[in-house]
Symmetry: C2
Amino acid sequence: MITTLAIDVMGGDGGAAVVVKGASLALEKSVNHKLAFIFFGHQPKILEELQKFPNLAACSSVVHSDIIVTNDMKPAVAVRAGRKSNMGMAINAVAMGQADAVISAGNTGAYMALSKIILKTLPGIDRPAIPALMPTMKGKAVVLDVGANIECNTDNLIQFALMGEALACQILNLESPSVGLLNVGSEELKGNATIQEAYQFLRTLSDFRFSGFVEGDDITAGKTDVIVTDGFSGNVALKAIEGAARLIKSIITHSLSSSWLGRLGYLIGRSQFKKLQAQLDPRLYNGAVFLGLRHIAVKSHGGVDAIGFANSIDVAIQMVHKNLVHKIEQRLNLMNARIALESRRA
Amino acid sequence: MITTLAIDVMGGDGGAAVVVKGASLALEKSVNHKLAFIFFGHQPKILEELQKFPNLAACSSVVHSDIIVTNDMKPAVAVRAGRKSNMGMAINAVAMGQADAVISAGNTGAYMALSKIILKTLPGIDRPAIPALMPTMKGKAVVLDVGANIECNTDNLIQFALMGEALACQILNLESPSVGLLNVGSEELKGNATIQEAYQFLRTLSDFRFSGFVEGDDITAGKTDVIVTDGFSGNVALKAIEGAARLIKSIITHSLSSSWLGRLGYLIGRSQFKKLQAQLDPRLYNGAVFLGLRHIAVKSHGGVDAIGFANSIDVAIQMVHKNLVHKIEQRLNLMNARIALESRRA
């Protein structure tokens, strides 16, 4: 079985060079799965980059488009360009069954809007969300939304909770993941009306492990397996944690290199430091899925390098092979049926 | 000159024991300033704790109240109790000139509401904000609001920007601090209408170093000296960074102790690690001021220990001796006059 990946080449700050190199890295890394690539964008540029990677070129095709979705384009403009744009064509390849997943590092708003229109949402889901997998004291946690929906209503938050739980079941191998709602305090009376209402709904849900409100530091503490929030706060939290990791890495390096004892300590413990750095590497957590779509669309950071982009491709491959969309749909159907039943009884 | 501090003893998860011990630590630490304390709360409990610290007891008085503002009390209820509650009495002591500053680890919403009513806001300021001083790659940055105002309108954000800039001038010793508005991307079209409008206003302001939108990781990167946001996102960012620091500390400890080479490296570089830990200690950044009031009110974390509470007291003392409220008022008056002039010209 060949896994075919539709790649938007023009998104991302690094352009075609980074994206094509990333695809080549993903191909090298993928020993268990046969891969094929369809690149969408400016054909001459793509072919120029593909020349550098003969192995990749051998399993790739290129689809040219003159209409490029740029980073400063308003989502509405991108939606009007639709399936004629490079991004829309890449997404459409998945809808048409020509590819198993689409990956883009481009304009988030446009990618989200086009994916929603072309790939459609799962039953009971109004808007897809971007989840992130965060390292915690206890392992890993799913945080969502980290940037797809700047403003959310109560229904969105409830749907994110259900989707996040379904995702955590699969990728964290948990039978009943705990779910927390991000707030500025754990007391019941904190927060605005939207999260208050979501709280009141989720706490009455049976067979759902809702742990109430959690705070910003509970994310990395691993207080719950899933943390639900709107795309603004989630994005701020994710990037704040990444920024903190970078700051601390720089303090460690500076602190240890500022004395000969520190340097000696660093040299002796070096292999441990390398492991530590790898654990904190934000690129390993790059590759955000639009959760809630009927197909697989993965968003890579705009400012990512080739290793980060390769990781996004790997996320898409894992999703394809774990049949994740179907499994999440099954769990959502189960939860939705239960909610419908309970609301009829009430 | 004696600096007199009004202390709400009943707030905070640790109760009177932590607060009184914190005051004693602050007294020991304060060699340059003569201090006096007025404790507000349940008198027998306070006296019991004061017995343990004779030096502190010698410069303290106690004011009893039966009406205690608790953590689960709605702000409206606390406001009704007003100056009869322990918290209201402590705040009122500052308004009446009996104390130079008030410190509480209690219910944030109630403390904020009571402070606003009793101490009044500075001219042109609708709602006070809580700023935090964050470590960055380049030094320190002021982030506000980190929890006083869950929902903010455009005017609030603009006022926070002006107050934050005025504060940064003073505590970071800068002539013209740069100011950024927290968003999910640095592109002009990102974010909701509220921050879009604030952006459009701030970019036209003359003699004000507005750097546009910044993202979550720009906080610790030190991209700007001041980061402006609503109290929800600010609180999430602050706590997410604290949580990340704790996670990384735990990974370092675990990582280095898991091999004999790592342990040896740690032993040799130990003094550097201690320095590093001190730099990352969130307690050192504890002690949030309600910026925008006509007097000094400091909020300590609810879950703080005695060292953290002592630091909050120290923040209040520094504010008194730097005459910070007056200096911020001067700068705000200057900016407000300029804005009025520019809007008349426009």
